[in-house]
């Protein structure tokens, strides 16, 4: 039942939000590379804005192509694409260029692609496909294990590429996808809680213990199940013990410093070393105040005090030059996009489309939380980009592709076979 008015189903709000974010990103990149300090930059850096603009145009074309493809294409080729991205990861590991210590780049003529970014799309397609084939009554655990395996394979390859930050995104995706696989909430909580306990343990062991105790008590009070309660206790308590052991016994001092520095980057021993990024990023964002210092007027930005300010720390540019108002606008746009994508998922009457949309929300949410959390000193410095904003073509392409696929599936939601699969 193809209609000539298919575009009526297209969700223009999502397109608008995508465009708004990409434009904000271009503005930030323009400020970092075309400002008064541009003369001191290398030619390749000066061209960042033009490159990102070119990537944005490529993405527009990509979105158009994705919208033209039939829904069956994505389902049918999900595993194929997954396999392709895994091959790319392997190829990068073997033949790739090493950039910033990570061997994740593959070169196609003049264009370099970051295989790990593309792997997100493949993995998401594969997991959505896997979980949408799950029938009621099938074993939760088997699907959970398969989901974890699908995610862990690229994650391990990416760790081997020495890009821990991106690998962490994959790991964080596991509980989110398990959540959508229908695993009981308590089980999800059991997966998430150790993470929180570990985070608190970095700040203070006592906070970790406190959280572990409260969580275990909460599980007991809500479920009254001894098994679950003891699992909760073992998971959270074990994490706290493991973290304190790792922090005090296993990690080398420089590794420890990298992790601990975010809790107090201004400390004498960190501020010029591992804490430098964070000190400068916080100074940039904090000094932006309510209204910001103005476009191309940020002293931190124009002085290039924040390393990686057009990539991982791009949020500091927006925070400094556009202030609280600008940062809040950005976060609001993100919130609108993510909520809209959740809505698109709910609109779709088919688990593949819904899972893909929600998975996209998961991937984007992890990026936003980790990236902004890192730039504002809530989290340790983990090098991942801010979706649509950070400089980097592969990430922009991958994130846009996920949104575009969700949009395409949503637009053609009536084309899904009622047989589904």
């Amino acid at each position: 039942m193809r209609s000539w008015t298919w575009y009526k189903n297209l969700d223009y709000l999502t397109i608008f939000l995508w465009l708004a974010l990409v434009v904000i990103g271009l503005v930030a990149i323009y400020s970092t590379t075309q400002g008064p300090a541009a003369a001191y930059l290398l030619d390749t850096e000066q061209q960042s804005f033009q490159r990102q603009l070119a990537w944005a145009v490529i993405c527009v074309v990509g979105i158009a192509v994705a919208l033209l493809l039939p829904v069956r294409f994505f389902q049918a080729s999900a595993y194929l694409i997954y396999a392709g991205t895994i091959l790319l990861l392997l190829a990068a590991l073997v033949f790739g260029d090493e950039i910033n210590g990570a061997r994740s780049w593959i070169r196609f003529g003049p264009v370099g692609l970051q295989s790990a970014e593309l792997a997100k799309v493949g993995t998401l397609l594969a997991v959505a496909h896997l979980l949408s084939s799950k029938r009621p009554g099938t074993d939760n655990v088997r699907f959970a294990v398969a989901t974890v395996a699908l995610i862990l394979i690229p994650a391990v390859l990416i760790i081997l590429q020495n890009d821990t930050g991106t690998a962490l995104v994959f790991l964080a995706l596991i509980p989110i996808m398990l959540y959508w696989s229908g695993l009981p909430i308590t089980a999800i909580l059991l997966v998430i809680a150790p993470g929180l306990a570990g985070y608190l343990a970095i700040w203070s062991t006592w906070a970790g213990w406190g959280f572990a105790a409260l969580f275990t008590l909460g599980i007991f009070l809500t479920t009254r199940q001894r098994m679950l309660t003891s699992l909760a206790g073992v998971f959270t308590g074990g994490t706290v013990v493991a973290f304190s052991l790792i922090l005090t016994k296993i990690l080398q001092p420089y590794q420890l410093a990298r992790i601990l520095s975010f809790t107090n980057p201004e400390a004498e021993e960190y501020r010029t070393g591992v804490g430098f990024n964070l000190v400068q990023s916080k100074a940039a964002i904090g000094s932006g105040g309510l209204f910001g210092k103005g476009f191309m007027e940020g002293t931190q930005t124009q002085g290039r005090y924040v390393p990686a300010q057009s990539t991982d720390f791009v949020f500091s540019v927006i925070g400094e030059e556009f202030g609280f108002i600008g940062s809040l606008l950005l976060l609001t746009l993100f919130a609108c996009l993510l909520l809209r994508l959740i809505g698109l998922g709910m609109d779709m009457k088919h688990p593949f489309g819904a899972l893909l949309a929600w998975g996209t929300v998961g991937v984007l949410l992890i990026h936003i939380f980790v990236n902004v959390g890192m730039a504002t000193g809530l989290l340790p410095v983990i090098g991942i980009p801010l979706p649509f904003i950070s400089y980097g073509g592969s990430a922009l392409l991958a994130n846009s592709a996920m949104v575009a696929i969700a949009l395409s599936l949503h637009m053609r939601r009536d084309d899904f076979s009622i047989y589904g699969y």
């Binding site: 300090a37 009554g137 916080k282 940039a284 124009q302 009457k349 949410l365 902004v372 959390g373």
Partner: protein, 633 residues
């Protein structure tokens, strides 16, 4: 927890239609979606709250941090005041210097060879300088290559984008424009040392600043220096200037220092310096009416321009440790026995104290009786003479007798009044009071007791007393002016270029000596006879009557005598008083006299008369030599 009712609990026999229906009916997923939306909002709210904390609550602190980071107050050094001589001839001004600085924190050590190539120095030099800079401070720019040439400077500037942590600054150095060195009067400027920096930091001195080290450069440092300005610039993480901060609205421009107008006459200063060839000693010429120093020479001297360049260890060693002591100001710091130039003073004191009258006659048998003819001898047998003749003939016996008739405390009281044994009120920093003994001094030096035999030598300017050329010139000024003694000074006035504000040195007015004018007339008459008929007759300035006195002071068993000479001219309307001492050069009329006479003539007439006598005097001045110092000295 209702959510725990998982899908499997509601399972029915599986059909694809059922799954689809299930999916539609699934409140479960609706609930999960809402929960997920709540998570999304929760995460973004947490981030938003963090932004509230950073950007609204703590924004002040972070603004401070970011300003400290990126906004650098650059000190803009003012132009140091320039120095003119009394005729308005520019003696000292400034020229630009170029310095290359390294900030180790940002310096890329792989660029050491590039920097070395640009500067045309060996890699090891750059490496050493980098290490020195690092040892001093990682974050502050060290002026590692001061005073590079303009070519070196431009090459580094051109390649600066490849040299993070390398910056440049323009400075200034002194340029000396006249033939007169006037090294000891002008002094010199150098980079401030660590000790002085510590003390003078509150006055705004910073590492690398230049500061006057001697002479008027030191005395008038607060005036010459000017007011340091400030420029606020945005610097990037590599310490490089990006642009003015807030378009420079907070900048404060520097204000140049005061220009100095010296009392020195650069022409006679240059002449006096040239006449001191092969000699050690000092000369001071001043205007007796004001105390203005017209010339101040100390030889051997040094080139003050030396300090505008990096001073090599060798040069520094010579300046500090050589026997010649070139940094030592012999005109104001070197104590020497005045010899017979002391006799006019003795005459004035004796007349005022009533030890003799203007007509008293004393007898000279060729020696003073106290020494029984073996010591305290005279140069001749003068017979019965009055004070005028005693001065003209420089009779030792007469002045030994005057010393016999007084006591050392009266002697020292008068000497102090004439400016001996005390520091002069002056703007000359480097001076020594010399020694004028009194009874306390003798008691200290000769604890076993002393007699008049110990002090009688003071009558002829020998024995336990030393004076400086500056003191002698000042005393000669007082004699010339019949009893008015002035504060000697090097600076007439200072003018601030931008405001035309004029400042004069804060020095006391001239004082009147406690000696009657008539006695001065008598002594001046005696000194005129010295120039006309006595030891100074060859030194008379053609056509200009003057008063003078030679002196030949014994210094030690095996050394040549010190040659001393004092004079004033013209006799009736004194415009110049002058004192010169040449070390180990013999009679006063041989070395010191010719120099002083020629300098006075040049000052008064603007030339040296071309007469046979003057040619002889000039020849004597140029050929007389100080007996060289040796290590055995």
């Amino acid at each position: 927890m209702p959510l725990d009712r998982s899908v499997s609990e509601t399972a029915t026999p599986v059909t694809t239609v059922d799954v689809f229906t299930l999916w539609l009916a699934m409140d479960e997923y609706r609930t999960r979606s809402r929960l997920f939306a709540a998570l999304v909002l929760g995460v973004l709210v947490v981030l938003g709250l963090r932004l509230v904390q950073l950007q609204i609550v703590d924004t002040q602190a972070y603004s401070g941090a970011s300003r400290n980071n990126a906004v650098r107050e650059v000190r803009v050094k003012p132009a140091r005041g320039v120095i003119y001589d009394r005729q308005g001839i520019l003696m000292v001004d400034n020229e630009p210097t170029y310095n290359i600085a390294i900030t180790p924190r940002y310096f890329d050590t792989t660029r050491i060879d590039l920097l070395a190539d640009l500067l045309e120095v060996p890699d090891t030099v750059v490496r050493t300088r980098y290490q020195e800079a690092l040892d001093w401070s990682g974050f502050q720019a060290s002026r590692s290559f001061p005073n590079v040439t303009f070519d070196q400077f431009s090459r580094v500037q051109e390649h600066q984008y490849r040299l993070p942590g390398v910056s440049y600054e323009k400075g200034q150095k002194r340029r000396y424009l006249t033939d007169a060195r006037a090294a000891h009067a002008l002094g010199y400027i150098r980079e401030i040392g660590p000790g002085a920096l510590e003390r003078q930091r509150p006055e705004g001195y910073r590492r690398g600043d230049l500061i006057g080290q001697a002479g008027v450069e030191r005395t008038y440092e607060p005036f010459l220096r000017g007011d340091v300005g400030s420029e606020f610039v945005l610097v990037n993480v590599h310490g490089r200037r990006v642009q003015p901060y807030r378009s420079g609205v907070e900048d404060i421009p520097p204000s140049s220092g005061y220009d100095l107008h010296l009392t020195i006459d650069s022409d006679i200063q240059a002449l006096a310096e040239s006449l001191f060839v092969n000699k050690r000693g000092g000369l001071v010429a001043l205007d007796p009416r004001t105390g203005a120093v017209l010339a101040m020479v100390s030889k051997p001297d040094f080139d003050p321009g030396l300090f505008s360049r990096p001073v090599s260890a060798e040069t520094w060693n010579y300046l500090q440790n050589s026997l010649d002591k070139p940094m030592f100001n012999r005109a104001t710091q070197s104590g020497m026995a005045p010899g017979s130039t002391w006799k006019p003073f003795m005459a004035l004191m004796a007349l005022q104290e009533g030890l003799i009258t203007p007509t008293s006659r004393l007898s000279c048998p060729g020696f003073h009786p106290l020494g029984n003819g073996r010591t305290f001898r005279c140069m001749g047998v003068h017979g019965s003479i009055d004070v005028g003749t005693a001065l003209q003939t420089s009779c030792n016996t007469f002045f030994f007798e005057l010393m016999m008739r007084t006591d050392v405390n009266t002697f020292s009281r008068y000497a102090n009044a004439f400016g001996f044994g005390v520091n002069a009120p002056t703007d000359i920093n480097e001076q020594w009071a010399g020694t004028i003994p009194d009874s306390a001094y003798f008691n200290r030096v000769y604890p076993r007791g002393w007699t008049v035999g110990y002090s009688i030598n003071l009558g002829v300017g020998q024995g336990n007393m030393v004076v400086t050329p500056l003191q002698l010139a000042r005393y000669m000024g007082a004699v010339a002016m019949r009893g008015t003694i002035h504060a000697p000074h090097l600076v007439d006035h200072l003018v601030r270029l931008d405001t035309q504000e004029r400042v004069e040195p804060d020095l006391p007015e001239g004082e009147t000596l406690p000696v009657e004018t008539a006695y001065f007339d008598l002594v001046r008459e005696g000194m005129r006879r010295v120039m006309e008929q006595g030891t100074g007759r060859l030194l008379q300035i053609p056509g200009i009557p003057s008063g003078g006195k030679t002196g030949t002071a014994q210094v030690g068993a095996n050394r040549e005598d010190n040659s001393a000479f004092v004079m004033f001219a013209p006799y009736d309307d004194p415009q110049i008083a002058i004192a010169a001492i040449v070390e180990n050069a013999g009679f006063g009329s041989v070395a010191a006299g010719p120099i002083a006479s020629l300098v006075a003539e040049q000052y008064l007439t603007g030339q040296i008369a071309d007469t046979p006598t003057r040619r002889l005097v000039l020849n004597r001045a140029l050929t007389s030599e100080s007996e060289p110092l040796d290590d055995g000295q």
